[in-house]
Amino acid sequence: MTRQLPAIDTLVEPDRVHKSVYVDPGLFELEMDRIFGRAWIYVGHESQIPNVGDYHQALIGREAVVMVRGDDGKPHVLFNRCPHKGAKLLAQPCGNAGRFLRCPFHGWNFRCDGRLLSVPAREGYEDTRFDLRDPAFSVRRVPRQQSYRGFVFASLAEDGPSLEEFLGGIRLTLDNFCDRAPEGEVEVAGGVFRVWQRSNWKIFFENLNDTSHPMVTHESAVNAARAEYQHRGDGGQMPFQLHIIEGNGEPYDFWGALEMVAYDRGHSYMGAIFTPPTDPVSLGHQAALEAVHGPEKAHEILSVQRHNSIIYPSCAPHTSFQQLRVIRPIAVDRTLVEIYTFRLKGAPEDYFQRSITYANIVNSPSSNVMPDDIEVYARVQEGLATDGGDWVSLHREAGREQGDGNGRYTGGGLSELPMRNQFRAWAEYMGEEA
């Protein structure tokens, strides 16, 4: 069945987008080809596979891949498919495959870098076109893979910008993520939350830098946290857990004082002014950084304040709570979000433990904050499917952003600049024929 897709250049305007980008299954399939088939997509972190044979599964668009630690000590990103008859080689989200990958169907064995090692009853292949050394009989590798400070990305396109060029100005977020560790390295720790959203993946990406929603969407959680604080009634400092929830209730002025910074290719972040910490947990971390770098350099590292950076179209690091959200589109109206917490090597344990508390409060499927997000995304998805209107508005502070002529754009803290920026990238990816 072929169906006419709307022309891409009619869907995105500088200050509005057509609803079909969220609801049209044909456009979703085209996104898989033209965006997820081209961009650098986050696969996983090298610390998730410390030993030979360790693996971690991921999705690049509709492609199931697996990142495996080879006996050369390097991570290899392979399609999760046996070259014999196609069986998926690994089924668990992560684990250890042993010294080689063994297909569960007919027992072909592969080295952890995907090369075919052996097939049973090999005589049967004599005088056939089968060749142990022919790459066609090895597990296929993704066309390109590259790591940046332990963060492994892959691209399904043979050609294109390097990872560093792709990241551009958002690269500093990953640098700062690692530099905040006294040893300059981070590792995934403490488990992963995986949550379903009943909505299009782009709705979540937009929300990551949407500062005009918290006070409205999260009213219930904010009220509950405030009431609980009153009820406890000691008038002292608000406990960390309540504070995290209550922060969503900050007024528009608070959010307006942030700075939105966007880069080409859809990346952006919310910037804040650094206020030196006063709580013992942050001070302990600061002291550990100072012990390694001295106060000046430590201050320089801590004063990079980038909340919810967006690495379009696959992940969103949050540097101050050491977490990375990974966004996997599953269908036009279904999205999988994974939330990883990282340990900063060399930082005090209670600093890591606080990021676990943060994840429990904000990112658990049982979060008091997130269900209202997920609910409003689903309502957008349902509302857009009606005939009630064709366009989605991105007008807030439209046209007021400042460009530096070098692919960096800034706007006010309440600006919808990040959304307009995402759709500019979207249209570029989507408009280009293969």
Binding site: G191, F193, V195, T217, E219, S220, P365, S366, D372
Partner: protein
Amino acid sequence: MSATATMSPADILAAVTAFLFEEAALLDQRRWFDWLELFTPDGMYWAPLRPDQPDPINHVSLFYEDAMMREVRARRLEEKRAWSQQPQVHAARIVGNIRLGTATVPGETVVHSTFLMAESRLSLPQRLLSGFYTHRLLPRGDGFAIVEKRIDLIDSEEVHATLEAFL
């Protein structure tokens, strides 16, 4: 000396069974604030993400709540603008296979049980949640108080839609 010390195992089993059924009814009736009363002041409510998870401090949990955070959840569920509770979620659960476990803290009674729970909201397909409860109880009045309620969902490590109400 605790009240359970003088009871026969069969009587204790009958008493904890009645307690678990009563607790399940409070939750199914969305009587959150009555349910909160069942806990000791330091009581914990914990649903680990992994069955073999050593602790709730160095690893994320599906729920890890003290009295304060349980109260926040109860309050939010009843807020007028809890958008995701429009309409409210409703649940019905069956608790069974109730067995007495081995207490490691003197005076406590440990109870293992299995639960099956259906949850419904909107016209979404009903969700089946199931797993194991472990209650650590202390005698209080005619009944018990919860020192810890641990929930091990059989699919704790899978992808979840939101879990808003208490399990």
